[in-house]
Symmetry: C2
């Protein structure tokens, strides 16, 4: 059986009734499961995780996008996370018995339908991108909802599906295919956003840090702290513990503590065990040591 | 489907050909899987892990015991781990859709057959024990192979199956049922066995330490170090990281380092994630965050 993970992010993280209404079409559907729904108030954004048959996800995802377009108005949206759309991003991730090419086809299929049905322009990104300058989601999203109004009119940013006009309330959406990543945030014992920015800069690839880290800074207003927010794009090569320890090391420069960390969405078992092995000094430790791995094989 | 884990330990950890011959009857059998075989040279002992249908395990286990009785002579056996039999202990552990009572029944069924077929006396232990003084394996095994010759003749230690005489070369075996435990060893950067003994004493329940820790000391001759060897009998209440950190703290008294640790056999996913959550300061972190947990449900 082919198994795809799909991780749509939409731009509402506070209003529980709205969140429930948006995700309703993804619940109790045949062929796949809604395994995660994680609203974040500070980001004003919700991360959804689906797992199962990709084809079975298309129509429910389309309904989900329709609900978000109907209920979310980006003109009034504020949050700590960059965003350009009511649904902001929809990546398909190959998990089991499925190729990246097949995930790209899913992104294309869904993207075309979204643009047609809702006049909600779609950019294909990462592995689904049709040009090099659209591989990086951050490049597409630069300027966010507010800037996209003009940006999308330039030849360079003509959408992959739809017309070169944002949806007046929903903006634009990026649909794509990518390798698994770990969304990982580290909380700092300070409210000084400049410290989080400086640490993000120290550890991210684009400024000389770890090869597979994308990082930024965010305020966690309700806790009066800041966090370094990251994507670990290849956890096999840039291990979680290494990033966590590096952030602790940097934090010392500013005389502040690292309070803890969080994983948004799912993480692969191998990533968890690799970091545990580091802390406990375990050798030859992997999924073969975990009882549940064998139940899985049945 | 009912899933049992069975973890037989036998008294050969060096001779690869012998080990292979002993475990051969457990390979490629219908209804269960041989998921682990871990010989330890210093212990001169091998830990086997089976997973699947308990009833399907009985006849292959009987053959396995026969091979061990035939090939292993305890009169010439030396190793760091206490032992009284060629096969030393065979615990059944309930994993899924099965009760402890059913595991006790498996232990009884196998025990009776072993005694009858091989004149190899059997003690029922832990949850399968028929009296309080046989619950603790260490009490049964006290005196080991050498002492059992006389011990078994006393009324108090009449075996549960078989006659009150050890098998002349294979000794006696404990067959039982128990809750899942984690066999966990921590290596110390010293060859001083007294330090390992002192640390084992500090952390184990019987001397005032953690409620669910049984601990002893062992020499790891081939690395010229010593280790604290443990059973964590309830990992939900005595967490692995807590024990590891406590041993590090004790080691400081002696000016030595903790080199690392090892898990023998399997550990439950929840135990691994709980310790990872400690080190990374993760909140609300459990199997729901692990992608494979959902593949498991299918």
């Amino acid at each position: 059986m082919k198994i795809v993970q799909c991780v749509p992010n939409f731009s509402e993280g506070c209003d529980t009734a709205k969140i429930e209404a948006v995700i309703a079409p993804l619940k109790n559907q045949p062929g796949f499961k809604l395994i995660g729904c994680e609203p974040d108030k500070n980001y004003n954004r919700t991360v959804v995780t689906l797992l199962g048959d990709g084809d079975a996800m298309i129509e429910p995802l389309l309904e989900f996008v329709g609900k978000a377009v109907q209920l979310i108005n980006l003109n009034y949206h504020k949050g700590e996370h960059p965003r350009m759309g009511a649904v902001d991003v929809i990546p398909f991730v190959p998990i089991k018995n499925i190729t990246m090419k097949e995930c790209v086809a899913l992104a294309q299929k869904l993207g075309e339908k979204i643009a047609k049905q809702y006049h909600f322009p779609v950019f294909l990104y990462e592995e689904a991108a049709r040009s090099l300058d659209r591989q990086n989601l951050a490049d597409i999203r630069k300027g966010e909802f507010e800037g996209m109004k003009e940006k999308i009119k330039s030849k360079e940013w003509y959408p992959d599906y739809g017309t070169p006009e944002i949806h007046p309330t929903a903006g634009a959406v990026a649909v794509g295919a990518r390798e698994p990543l770990i969304a990982y945030n580290i909380n700092l014992g300070t409210d000084d956003i400049d410290i989080a920015k400086a640490i993000a800069k120290a550890i991210r690839h684009s400024n000389g840090g770890f090869r597979y880290i994308k990082a930024g800074a965010a305020k966690i207003a309700d806790r009066n702290i800041v966090q370094v927010t990251m994507n670990i794009t290849d956890y096999r090569k840039t291990a979680i513990y290494r990033v966590f320890e590096a952030v602790k090391t940097e934090a010392k420069r500013y005389g502040i503590n690292v309070l803890g960390s969080e994983v948004v969405g799912m993480m692969p078992l191998a990533a968890a065990l690799d970091s545990l092995a580091y802390y406990l000094g375990l050798t030859d430790f992997d999924g073969k040591k975990i009882l549940e791995s064998y139940l899985l094989e049945k």
